[in-house]
C-alpha cells in the first residue's frame, strides 16, 4: 500500500509542476507572442517594415487588431531598428490625434497627442547602442529591436475620416 501511495504522490507532483511551468510560460510569453502576430499583420507578413500604412476606415470586417474603434482612423508602422534608427512624422491634426510606440513585449514606451504636439509629431526611435542625430527634439529609446507605432486620428464620420485621410498622407515612417 505504502509504495503505491508514494508513487501516486510522485505522479501528482510531476503533473502539478509541469502544469504550473507551462501555465506560467504561456502567461509570460503571451504579450511577446501576440505582438509578433500583430507585427506580421501590420507589416503584410514582414514585407512592409519601416513604412507607414493607412488602412481604410474600420468596419465589422477589420481583424488586424482586437477591439478596433470605428471612430478612429488608424495608421501604423511596424519598425525594425536592426539597420539603424527610424524616423516617424505625423502631420498636424485639427482634432484628437496621438502617436504611440510599442516595444515587442507590448509595452507602450511612448505616447504623444496633438495637444502636446500642435504642429505635428516628429520623433526618432533608437535601439540599444544607437544615437539620434544632435538636435533631435524627441528621441524614443526602444528596448527591443522591433516594435509597432500606432497613430490614431479622431474620425467618427465619413467627413471626419476624409479630413484625417488627407492629413495622414504626409505622415512618415522611414529609416534615418
Amino acid at each position: 500500500m505504502k509504495p503505491l501511495i508514494k508513487s501516486l504522490i510522485k505522479s501528482l507532483m510531476i503533473v502539478l509542476v509541469t502544469a504550473v511551468v507551462v501555465h506560467l510560460a504561456v502567461i509570460l510569453s503571451a504579450p511577446n507572442l501576440l505582438m509578433a502576430v500583430a507585427f506580421k499583420r501590420l507589416s503584410a507578413e514582414g514585407k512592409m517594415v519601416n513604412q507607414m500604412i493607412h488602412p481604410p476606415r474600420t468596419t465589422e470586417a477589420s481583424r488586424a487588431i482586437v477591439r478596433p474603434s470605428p471612430d478612429l482612423a488608424y495608421s501604423s508602422c511596424a519598425y525594425d531598428l536592426s539597420k539603424g534608427p527610424v524616423r516617424v512624422k505625423a502631420a498636424k491634426a485639427t482634432d484628437y490625434m496621438s502617436v504611440s510606440v510599442y516595444a515587442a513585449n507590448s509595452d507602450n514606451i511612448f505616447a504623444i497627442n496633438d495637444r502636446q504636439a500642435p504642429d505635428g509629431v516628429d520623433l526618432i526611435i533608437v535601439g540599444k547602442g544607437q544615437v539620434a542625430p544632435a538636435g533631435t527634439a524627441i528621441v524614443v529609446q526602444s528596448p527591443t529591436q522591433r516594435g509597432i507605432v500606432l497613430e490614431r486620428r479622431l474620425a467618427p464620420s465619413a467627413e471626419a475620416f476624409a479630413v484625417a485621410e488627407l492629413a495622414r498622407k504626409q505622415d512618415v515612417c522611414a529609416p534615418l
Binding site: A19, V20, V22, A30, A38, S62, P70, S106, A111
Partner: protein, 200 residues
C-alpha cells in the same frame, strides 16, 4: 521503457492542464481590471508597464496596442443594470451626459473582441455625433438605443449577431480627477427596455 512512458504521459497531462488553464485565463479577459463602478469595469493598471503578468497577458489578448491612462481610460461592461449578462436579442437604453474627457465613445464588441458582423454599420456612439443630433434643450444629455433592430431610435448601436457582447466606453484625454477616482465619473446608465421571454 514503461517508466519513461509513464513519465512522458504525466508530463503531457501536466502540460495540457497548464495550457488549458492559461488559455482559459486569457479568454475570460472581457472584464480586464479591478474596479467596477455602476457596472463599468475599469483598470488602473492597463497600459502600465508595472502591471502584473496576468494583467499584461489579458491586456495583450483583449487590448493589444491600447493607450496609457493619461491618453485614454477604457471601461468595459458585460451586464445589465441587474447584473445579468447583456443579451443580443434585448433592447437597452444607454443614457448619459457630458463625460470628463475631451472626447468619448461607446462601442459594441462581440465575444471574439471584434465588431459584430451584421451589416448594420452601427457599432458605436460618440461625443461628436451625439452632439450633432442633440436638441438645444437637451443640456448635454443623450440617449442611445442598443438593440438588434433600429426601430424608432435616432441613435443606436446594433447588437444583432453579437452573442455575448460587451460595451466599451473610451474616455480620451480624461480629466485628472476621473483618472484618479473612477467613482467621480458620471457613467452612462443602462436600462433594459424589453427582452424576449426566451433567448433567441
Amino acid at each position: 521503457m514503461r517508466p519513461a512512458l509513464k513519465l512522458g504521459g504525466l508530463i503531457l497531462v501536466g502540460a495540457g492542464l497548464g495550457l488549458v488553464s492559461a488559455l482559459a485565463m486569457l479568454n475570460q479577459g472581457m472584464n480586464i481590471g479591478k474596479e467596477t463602478v455602476q457596472g463599468w469595469v475599469g483598470s488602473h493598471v492597463s497600459g502600465d508597464r508595472t502591471a502584473d503578468p496576468y494583467t499584461r497577458a489579458l491586456v495583450a489578448r483583449a487590448g493589444l496596442l491600447a493607450l496609457t491612462q493619461a491618453e485614454t481610460l477604457y471601461f468595459n461592461r458585460t451586464t445589465d443594470e441587474t447584473g445579468k449578462p447583456l443579451r443580443a436579442d434585448c433592447t437597452y437604453q444607454l443614457e448619459g451626459g457630458a463625460q470628463p474627457a475631451r472626447w468619448w465613445s461607446v462601442t459594441i464588441y462581440a465575444a471574439d473582441n471584434y465588431l459584430p458582423v451584421n451589416g448594420d454599420d452601427a457599432q458605436s456612439a460618440d461625443a461628436m455625433r451625439v452632439a450633432a443630433l442633440a436638441k438645444p434643450d437637451d443640456q448635454g444629455r443623450w440617449t442611445v438605443q442598443v438593440s438588434p433592430q433600429k426601430g424608432e431610435a435616432t441613435h443606436w448601436i446594433s447588437s444583432k449577431n453579437s452573442g455575448n457582447y460587451a460595451l466599451t466606453l473610451r474616455l480620451y484625454n480624461p480629466q485628472e480627477g476621473a483618472r484618479k477616482d473612477f467613482k467621480s465619473i458620471a457613467f452612462p446608465t443602462l436600462k433594459t427596455i424589453s427582452c424576449p421571454r426566451t433567448p433567441a
